[in-house]
Point group: C2
DNA sequence: CTGTTAGCGCCTTCAC
DNA sequence: GTGAAGGCGCTAACAG
């Protein structure tokens, strides 16, 4: 059956290949009776149009490339789900590639997808400003949208990481916290991490507080030990703002291992809003991003541009709303 | 640049298209000087061979389809990572499709991938015995390997869910537990769930214990409420065996909401071995499956068959080792 | 409304 | 070691 093709169907139906093609692509440009006949024969033979031949001929593959840091962080898994559903609804398949937060992998990924004839790409890159990969896309006039990244010169779907982070600090301050520390993944590997850190510094500054040294740990490792060491320093912070939910979970683990109670001895706030956070004890207090929607809107932006035969414009960028999700890992400072 | 093709490269290099093609596909069938020239020109022009044209000509796409229930369960995200890495190492791209545990979606997914010219598929299906999708693949002679599923008539990469589950019960019994309950996702949607339940019943039987009614909840929902109701029943179990780690996490949540301490008042054991489980408090006690390796071996089996031009055989199935991971969510029964 | 035909870009025999 | 040419399966003019 894999060798089934339009010619065989045409012969069996007693029509020309053009008619078979039209019956599928422009059903109303074919007589109802003929169409029914073709459809019946095609169904009998299990015919499905060869995607490669169609792509070669039309120069459209109906495939979108997706470049993500990792799927092991539920944030991106949730986003990818939004991407996949929206793409499928629009008749597009997706080819995801992960970079593990490695710059070199970003370029490899883009090249691979470029060679794979994708119609467009959704990417989460380390840093849009310095990205060679994006440069490559621009040079090739490949339509793309960035997810999570935020940059004035590229089409992006993101949230206000900076503002949200400053708000978190303000909230902690209202709860009576003064020694508010921050822990983040490798900042060089993520503009979001940089934005969140900047927001944190702004929040501290606005409250007239001095920020203690930030703890920076690799994205991929568990780093519970580093967190324990960090928390063992005196004066110990009363609140910890974590640049992402996985770090928050590990921070809670580290605190527990050292006999600290969360939130009584240490308030912990995350960032991302992964669904799992709500099922933990204590439930994670976090900045909830609409991960699914970030994926969905990214695809919608891209598909609209594809339909119009243009590349998405930077000024079509979307800033989606975030929200603080009250959990149990964050409470007032000890008095 | 997207319109770059072999002809342009050939002209620019002053050779024929055949030579360019050979320079890339059979480097040693071309004079070193010629090859260097072609490579230089191609690099300058940013030429990459058109995947669709190559696929159409060679009848090989170097793409693998992957059918999974969901990526929101880290089990499958971890597995997909193994799949992606191994596929990439072998020069294959992947197209993942999720089914959300819906039977109808399985067929849709397979049809979509079939139309997409994949060279083979890795699948996690609900039930290999009754799967229309697998029948479709067999009829079309499409090479495939099942992951997690276990079935004598299909090539599978799995673990001994049944044995592992019986062992969990035996372990709980050794810890002094008598009222050991089980909670599972919808069994009709997963042969693994069925196997794990069967193993649980065997373990109970072997210990001369009566199994209380099992709690069956949908895979996709959180179901913390259902769990709370279940745990409120008297006599309350002293140990809970959960068919997967997400359920275990939610069970711990449900217990906490009812003021039950884990593991003192309720021992909880999961199944899957998701990495996150180790960072929770209490750390999850669970049956660790080699999720990454399940993905890796599935691809290796598939690629070997592709290389040999055959479909993977059922008797090439792999049963990978599992291990009990000692966490903190499981302890001796109260005396 | 339907048929004929030219190529999309590539690989691969077959000559040379 | 290299070149010429056919055809993979499909769609889109163009005729009829």
């Amino acid at each position: 059956m894999p060798s089934m093709n339009i010619q065989i169907v045409a012969r069996r139906a007693g029509v020309s290949v053009a008619t078979v093609s039209r019956a599928f692509n422009f059903p109303d440009k074919v007589a109802p009776a003929t169409r029914a006949l073709v459809e019946r024969v095609a169904a009998e033979l299990g015919y499905v149009a060869n995607a490669s031949a169609r792509t070669l001929r039309t120069q459209r593959s109906r495939v979108l490339g997706v470049v993500l840091p990792t799927l092991l962080n539920p944030t991106f898994a949730e986003c990818l789900q939004g991407i996949a559903q929206t793409a499928a609804a629009g008749g597009y398949a997706i080819v995801p590639v992960t970079t593990d937060y490695q710059l070199a992998e970003e370029e490899r990924a883009v090249n691979q997808l470029l060679a794979g004839n994708v119609d467009g790409m959704i990417l989460v890159v380390s840093n849009p400003t310095t990205s060679q990969a994006l440069e490559r896309l621009r040079a090739n006039a490949v339509p793309y949208v960035l997810a999570y990244n935020k940059h004035g010169l590229h089409p992006c779907v993101s949230v206000d990481s900076e503002g949200a982070s400053a708000d978190v600090v303000a909230r902690l301050v209202r709860l009576g916290h003064r020694r508010i520390a921050m822990v983040t993944g490798t900042m060089a590997a993520s503009d979001r991490a940089q934005q969140r850190y900047r927001g944190y510094l702004q929040g501290m500054d606005a409250a007239g507080l001095t920020a203690p040294p930030v703890l920076e740990v690799p994205f991929v490792e568990t780093a519970v030990d580093a967190l324990r060491h960090y928390l063992a320093e005196t004066p110990r912070p009363t609140a910890l703002f974590c640049s992402n939910d996985l770090l928050a979970i590990r921070s809670i683990r580290a605190a527990s291992l050292d006999g600290l109670r969360v939130p009584q001895d240490l308030a912990v706030v995350g960032f991302d809003g992964i669904a799992l956070g709500q099922d933990l004890t204590p439930a994670l207090s976090t900045v909830m991003q609409p991960n699914h929607d970030i994926g969905r809107h990214s695809v919608e932006l891209l598909l609209k541009a594809l339909a119009d035969g243009v590349v998405p414009r930077a000024d079509a960028s979307l800033l989606l709303p975030h929200a603080f999700r009250e959990g149990e890992s964050c409470a007032a400072a000890p008095t």
